[in-house]
Subunit: 390 residues, 2 copies
């Protein structure tokens, strides 16, 4: 079912043509560290040959979590051994608490126990938690070895597996320790998403919508038209993942180590992180993508209040997110009400704060986001009062 | 007391002129990551201005060990505050066991507690242990921040502080986890060496001799002539450190992430590491530089046995090391005798082994070392039998 090319606004002309293919490949251009993202149904079955083609002779350690191991590890192991790749496996508990120093040490030890050398590779099979942790372990074991991402959540396929940011959490905060370490290959088997819970799928979808809202208005149109097909697992799902990866790859190529241009990827994240912090990172109340969804809705409404965007655009964004099953209001978060002070403190702790002024990603409309450096905290307080009184 | 230029064999023509200066500066050329090594008496007192000039506005965390803190921390803190640099300090236990995951976590936590950002810096004040650990912490906290080396052992001034290799040990072996992270500045105050024990000074001197033996025969001549002055703390000491840093900087510039050319820096280290392993890293019996000294003497005698070098050269090397108070025979190691099997096993475990053949740095004479890839283990066994029967 061909569709009009959703990824070609004027600013992105020259991209792939207007077809909904079965399989896609996106190149992340980083000179000697360039790599491919392969996207398609059933790609895990080809993992062995794809890894062998890029890392000839490499042995691998597969790192995964208990839930993903039950669902998808067997096929990966068969694919690897079928291509003559010697592998061993480390299965860790599922969940955000696995991104810790203790599990980093355990992962590094498994790499050393498997006697991997710098030309060998760690394969991360799972969501962003496993990708971030295993990627960091592969960055520091023997001062850096090969790394392959096999992302199995929508969030990981469109966001965390692309760009080389790896890391762990500490009691002082999330992602405070890590390394930039690019994978040699990202293999996104979209069929693995069939086993993902609807809530996790929707959470990942928030990041997909984000790319449209940053600077791809035609992609947002595409999402409005094809949301049902994407959630149903039609070919539009892989197409949306491809465009998301192209969007992220372009930003990463321009700013590999996050010195500036990557900032727009934080659309919805200043409010989103504050909400996650306010609920104490309790996933039962709010997962990351849900926080981003509310955060993006807030960023649009805040932009309307500042006279930057129209209420019509903000309404269109919120309607689309709600249709995808995502929250768009702070009051939608279950549990005790969240106060303005709690949120303001959490925003002030966010790393994007400098000298009393706040940095936000604001917008002039759908696909027209920009970095606003000197936002007055009083304006934010006033806005939050309005939001919380509804 | 000017000396003939010791650092200018034909292969290194164009280097600095033939003077023994009070202060030296060596540039490590690594494109955007280039940096200066400053070498001189009393440089710690200028640490504040030198850091401020290179990292304007940076705040710092000083990491040091208990022994060095007592001797040199006060002056560094005064120098930093004198230049208006806000600093805090982390003092760790002295010794190799500090290079652990637990102390990495502690160091990273101190960085986060001090709220350092990516533009701020960690300052390592101490020997190679502190430099390797603090450098690694600065590489991974917030995915990488500024780093300054203030090395206080001879080994650290001529070797570990130059080149950006950072890391820790694990129960499976030394330096198995780490990162390449170049400092923004190396500040070598040679006066700090006055408080170093004679044994630690001699151990560091083994690495100085190494640079002459690799490919700088004129530098070896210089060392033969000026050994007494170097040990007595004359200006020849800083000169020897300068030439050592130039030698290492040249290798690092050619091979930043150790893909090949850096291998020659391992002269004496295959045997040396095997001896360290054989004594269970018991510093009372053998410290690293002593192992390297015996290893270099063995590499020369092994080269003689293989018909590559003359006994005269091997004798000259051993005589110089012995005059410096360094061991040159396996039997010089105190404690239980070390057997051939123990050494062969340790050599086989070394990372420079591939497919049954051994890789050694051998030599055709003083300053004429080369990488030999396919050494037959039986030849090594025969050689060790001779050495151990003496
Ligand atoms: N590195 C980056 O650039 C980057 C970007 C965004 C987010 N992140 C990180 O990603 C993490 C979140 O990633 P996530 O949302 O994928 O979380 P996750 O890895 O915890 O996965 C969510 C849950 O889904 C399960 N799961 C994974 N794949 C499945 C499948 N195919 N079927 C059924 N269940 C499956 C997991 O076991 C887990 O319980 C966070 O730690 C965040 O910091 C990193
Ligand atoms: N990164 C690299 O490229 C590289 C290269 C070679 C060695 N290394 C590492 O360096 C480490 C050895 O370094 P080291 O020999 O400096 O050991 P070290 O840091 O343990 O210092 C040796 C001892 O000297 C003391 N000391 C330091 N400065 C002093 C001073 N000025 N006065 C009195 N005492 C002082 C220390 O407290 C310690 O007890 C090893 O861990 C080795 O792996 C790293
Ligand atoms: Zn996100
Ligand atoms: Zn050494």
């Amino acid at each position: 079912m061909p569709a009009g090319d959703p990824s070609a606004p004027a600013a992105h002309a020259g991209h792939a043509p207007a077809r909904v293919d079965k399989e896609h490949s996106v190149r992340v251009e980083l000179g000697a560290r360039s790599y491919d993202i392969l996207i398609g149904e059933g790609l895990i079955d080809r993992a062995g040959t794809e890894v062998a083609a890029r890392l000839p002779g490499a042995r691998v350690l597969v790192v995964t979590d208990e839930r993903v191991a039950k669902l998808h590890l067997g096929r990966l192991e068969i694919a690897l051994s079928g291509a003559g790749i010697a592998s061993s496996t480390l299965v860790l508990p599922a969940g955000e608490t696995t991104k810790s120093f203790a599990h980093l040490e355990r992962s590094v030890d498994a790499i050393l126990e498997a006697r991997l050398e710098r030309g060998d590779a760690v394969v991360a099979l799972g969501g962003g938690v496993i990708g971030d942790l295993a990627g960091f372990a592969s960055a520091v074991a023997k001062r850096g070895m090969g790394f392959v991402q096999v992302p199995t959540t929508l969030l990981a396929q469109v966001d965390s597996s692309v760009g080389g940011k790896t890391g762990i959490n500490t009691p002082r905060g999330k992602n405070l320790v890590g390394a930039f370490h690019q994978p040699a290959l990202v293999l996104s088997d979209v069929a693995t998403l069939d086993t993902l819970s609807p809530r996790e799928f929707a959470a990942g979808y928030a990041e997909v919508v984000k790319y449209g809202l940053i600077d791809r208005p035609d992609f947002f149109d595409f999402l409005e038209k094809n949301r049902a097909a994407i959630f149903a697992g039609g070919p539009e799902r892989a197409e949306a993942i491809r465009i998301s990866c192209e969007a992220k790859a372009a930003v990463v190529a321009a700013d590999e180590e996050e010195h500036g241009a990557r900032a727009l990827l934080n659309l919805g994240h200043t409010f989103g992180h504050a909400l996650e912090r306010a609920v104490g990172y309790d996933a039962a109340r709010l997962v990351h993508g849900e926080g981003v969804s509310i955060g993006m809705a807030l960023a649009h409404r805040f932009s309307v209040k500042l006279g930057l965007a129209t209420g019509q655009d903000a309404g269109r964004v919120a309607a689309h997110l709600r249709a995808a099953g995502l929250p768009t209001e702070i009051s939608a978060i279950p549990g005790p009400a969240i106060g303005r002070e709690t949120l303001m403190e959490a925003i002030a702790q966010d790393k994007k704060v400098s000298r009393g002024r706040l940095t936000f990603i604001l917008t002039r409309g759908i696909g027209r986001s920009f970095l606003a450096g000197g936002v007055d905290p009083a304006e934010v307080e006033g806005f939050l009062d309005e939001e919380l009184s509804q």
